[in-house]
Amino acid sequence: MSTQVTTAGVFPSFEQVFQGFASQIGMLRQMAPKPTLTDEVRVQRAIDTLIAETNADEAVWLESCIHCGQCTTACHYFQAMGDSKYAPMRKMELYRRIYQREIGPFRWWYKLITRPIKLKDLEELQELVYDSCSECGRCTMVCPMGIDTASLVHHQRSALVAAELVPAELAALRQEQKQMGTVFGSSAEALLKMVATIREQCGVEIPVDKPAAEVMVLSSAVDLVGNGNGLLATARVMNHLGVDWTICSDGFESANFGLLSGDMSLWRKQVEPIVAAAQRIGAKTLVIAECGHAYPALRWNPMLKSDALPFDMVYMSEYLGRMAKAGRLKLTPIEGKFTYHDPCKTGRRGGAFDEPRAVLKAMDADFVELPSNKEYNWCCGGGAGIFLLERATKLRDESFKIKLNQVNATGASTVVVSCASCRLNFEAGRVKNHWDKEVASLVELVADHLIDQPAAAGTTPRQGVSA
């Protein structure tokens, strides 16, 4: 088993969760919607989308590349495959061609010397912007021009949404979330059922739909349809802290397949009920579940004017870190040697570096950094929805070996992650490589090391062990 499960037997181990997910993902491919538009319309919609999303920032980045090749070896997918088509600079070539033909300063010239865009070009783009770019941003760290390839890739995902070219698995989940509002069927009923199970089987209360609460906590589909331990751990930690918290059944889903697929309108639509619920209950803090992309979906949502909102949005690892620093988490020391994997979306592209480390420090962990860490961390290979793509299995498995070697180099026995998607990918890598390391979720690790004197709401904060 990869994690310590306190309430043994109630919920499956994460290894079983991972296996369950693998079979569910297999079904997604049959559920994917088929294209309905003509080829010409699909191409035109892709071009229109890219033009609409191209501002001066994107134009400058597209103009700046000098083909110096530095980004190539910074990319884990190139490292894994050794094939130059995975070089980050090539993931913006089609975008540049469209930009040069349509809005660039010399468009009259480029219309003469470049080929018009065909559906086949967009079909070939699919592998480059979905399967082989997790939008992790590591290439930006080495680029002498500082080009933000990840955001250029994201715009191209938007274009492929318009062209009905989203990979089957993401397309199916996008459609489900768009039409039903659920992910893997994780409806409000599924939430209430899971909450009841946790109450009955583990004796842990989860306050649902309180009319007012200081802290609103999100869950995620991974918690609800598979890993009940994640929600259980969250509840135990929140109850331990004694804060006034709740989960809202009309805004609990962290996962956002608008962001992952590139569908900006679905991204916005999914965020609205969460923001509305937080405002209704007068929340001061919104805690985002350990679901990496939910952090940029909410906290760094460029379409959401968060300065005007009456609440803060924090990632689970950030929240735990702040509580640990404030001495409010009372934790037992932890045995063994630990390292921490920064998820791309909360690390390099999110900035939550210190807080998860503060949590491990509060547990007196024997902590050692990965050889490449924080801003320079290697992606695990499964981010930005890639974990779900069957076609990307080889890309994922090969690139994960970088991570595997880096963790091995630390000598740690456990690698802590704070992102469900990373964790699923680590689990896949652990099983496939018969890896002797443990993979632990930060919130579950904390829940397993709470010094639990029942903490009533409003309890004076206590000093942490070593925070």
Binding site: E53, T54, N55, A56, D57, E58, A59, V60, W61, E63, S64, C65, I66, H67, C68, G69, Q70, T72, T73, A74, G82, D83, S84, A87, M89, R90, I103, G104, P105, F106, W109, T140, M141, V142, C143, P144, M145, G146, I147, D148, S151, R299, W300, N301, P302, M303, L304, K305, S306, D307, R348, R349, G350, G351, S372, E375, Y376
Partner: protein, 216 residues
């Protein structure tokens, strides 16, 4: 009109006009586009401002990438500085600049000029050698090679002119000036524009990441 008169006269003057007009056109064509707004709250109230330091900090790759970038970074720096010194440091160039602008300054000794020009050419050859030997890393296109040839040509012809190698001096000088004219015409339409873009590109990314509290 002799070849040299043509090179010194209409060729170099018109190429300069195209150079300046082309640069302005391309810069303006991009910079007049709207800026996308990120409405999310920055991590620190004044943190975004720190992003501008990326313009300077990215002048040298982080230690994380030393192994992969060392050769190219050193060669690129040698090439850029050596070329810059030769362009503004030797007597004939200063005289040309003086004829255009009236400004002038002391020149380097001839021997030093030749030595630095040679360094520039050798470092440029070292860079193309690496580009050709590792095609999967560089993903080169036609523009990369044209740009290399057009940059190498003035260096090579300049050294030959200076050392009186090849055709008669006047012809060699004319070829050198014409090679520069071709380079000037190519500049605004090519990746050589990175001489300007790098400031904007680095600043944009620096700001976008600083917004989230990340130092890149």
């Amino acid at each position: 009109m002799s070849l040299l008169e043509f090179a010194r006269g209409p060729a170099i003057h018109w190429s300069l006009v195209i150079l300046v007009a082309g640069i302005i056109w391309r810069l303006l064509g991009v910079l007049v586009l709207t800026r996308g707004a990120d409405l999310s709250r920055p991590r620190d109230a004044f943190g975004n401002f720190k992003g501008y330091r990326t313009v300077f900090s990215r002048a040298w790759p982080n230690g994380e990438f030393t192994t992969a970038t060392r050769y190219q970074t050193i060669m690129a720096y040698l090439f850029h500085f050596a070329t810059l010194i030769v362009v503004v440091g030797i007597t004939p160039h200063i005289e040309f600049i003086e004829s255009l602008t009236g400004a002038s300054w002391p020149a380097l000794p001839n021997a030093l000029g030749v030595a630095i020009g040679t360094i520039a050419l050798i470092s440029l050859i070292a860079l193309i050698g690496r580009r050709i030997s590792k095609p999967e890393i560089y993903c080169s296109n036609l523009g990369d090679y044209i740009t290399w040839v057009l940059i190498a040509a003035p260096l090579l012809t300049g050294l030959m002119t200076f050392a009186h190698i090849g055709p008669r001096y006047e012809t060699m000088l004319a070829i050198h000036i014409l090679s520069v004219a071709v380079l000037f015409v190519w500049f605004p339409f090519s990746k050589l524009m990175h001489a300007f873009w790098f400031v904007f590109s680095r600043a944009q990314s620096g700001l976008a990441y600083a917004h989230k509290g990340v130092r890149i």
